[in-house]
């Protein structure tokens, strides 16, 4: 099993991180909408936000790890069949996805910490508040958190549609490369 990436394919770690982040982000978005509509007497009224915040902070760590892994590793090149505009668009969407994810996490942190309270990560540890002292910081950070989350979901849709276009219309390897590690002998049979 190939852990790292190479020029043709993603390694196990990149693939796992990609799907872990995808699942987590989708889960956090759904949880966020659900928990803000809960009745005061609902059993999850306090538990759901605790999970949302804790997972958000952990996601930030995972994203940093993922970004580091991406920056200090070989990345597979885009398929030759991809048009230049497709490569450029895909690259920009990937950049925006990272940017949105970090901005959403940071804005979420600034909601919870606007009165100087720390963010609790389950009952394991706390992330202390960083005082920036903006008036009604919780409202501003809250609006940023919500609208960026909507933009992120639009980007996710675009990212997914593009992948499906490659998979269904172009019938190329784009999606398959992110689903399983391509064995070297599959790619270059004549080298064996």
């Amino acid at each position: 099993m190939q852990i790292g990436n190479n020029e043709q394919s993603w390694g196990v770690l990149s693939i796992l991180l990609h799907w872990l982040v995808a699942l987590t982000v989708f889960g956090l978005f759904t949880l966020g909408i659900w928990m803000t509509g809960l009745d005061y007497y609902h059993a999850w009224y306090n538990r759901a936000p605790l999970i949302h915040k804790s997972v958000g902070i952990i996601l930030a760590c995972v994203l940093l790890l993922r970004l580091a892994w991406r920056l200090f590793n070989t990345n597979p090149e885009a398929l030759i069949s991809h048009a230049p505009w497709e490569k450029k668009l895909a690259h920009n969407i990937h950049l925006l996805l990272y940017l949105m994810l970090f901005s959403i996490i940071v804005s979420g942190y600034f909601i919870s910490t606007s009165d100087g309270r720390a963010v609790e990560v389950f009952n394991w540890f706390e992330v202390p508040a960083y005082p920036i002292g903006i008036e009604r910081q919780e409202d501003i950070a809250g609006a940023v958190h919500w609208y960026l989350a909507l933009i992120l979901m639009a980007l996710v849709a675009l990212h997914t549609i593009s992948t499906l276009k490659h998979h269904i219309i172009d019938r190329d390897e784009t999606l398959k490369r992110m689903l399983r590690v391509t064995k070297p002998n599959e790619k270059k049979p004549n080298e064996e």
Partner: protein, 192 residues
């Protein structure tokens, strides 16, 4: 001649002093924060939660010889709601509670003032809050009046009234023990 002048002047002074003081106008000392609009609501029926509106302005007129002519008006910035927990304050400003984006101001304008003796009075007035305007009655206690050490003249009252959340278009149900809240009002006016 000189004596007559003295007597006349003295008589005039006595007469001036005997003339009833006209209704004096007071500005509520929000600048020096000798006034507060607080509220107290039950949490689940187990404890009391206190909150306040940090930003408001107001004035009143009061004449000791004709107290029933007293008038009060107060304007409150609803976004200044404060309960010592930013996430809760954010929620209180939202559509679930005070809808501050839609109704940024609450106001109270007096209709009548009836002294009950013993420093107590009933203050009736129109309260506009969360898009609802209705008459309310505030139980008033006259706390004191007199010169302050800095050349001014001050007068203060405290007031209590109970508001039922549902009557003021607050849709969130906080449970059977928390349907009402008590307003605790303290005003000190500086005579103009």
């Amino acid at each position: 001649m000189f004596r007559i002048t003295i007597i006349t002047a003295f008589t005039a002074l006595v007469l001036i002093a005997a003339i009833p003081v006209p209704a004096a106008d007071y500005v509520i000392d929000t600048k020096g924060a000798h006034a507060s609009i607080k509220f107290k609501i039950s949490h689940l029926g187990y404890s009391w939660l206190y909150g306040s509106f940090k930003s408001f302005t107001g004035s009143f007129s009061y004449d000791e010889n004709n107290p029933s002519a007293s008038k009060v008006s107060v304007e409150i910035n609803t976004s200044s709601v404060y309960t010592n927990h930013a996430e809760r304050d954010k929620h209180l400003r939202s559509a679930d509670f005070l809808q501050v984006a839609k109704y940024p101001k609450a106001s109270f304008v007096s209709i009548s003032f009836q002294e009950q003796g013993n420093g107590k009075a009933l203050l009736k007035g129109k309260l506009t809050l969360n898009g609802v305007t209705k008459p309310i009655i505030i139980d008033v206690t006259h706390v004191g009046a007199g010169k302050d050490p800095w050349g001014g003249y001050r007068r203060g009252f405290e007031g209590r009234t109970t508001l039922t959340l549902k009557e003021w278009n607050i849709k969130r149900d906080l449970g059977p023990a928390s349907g009402q809240l008590e307003m605790i009002l303290d005003v000190e006016g500086i005579r103009q």
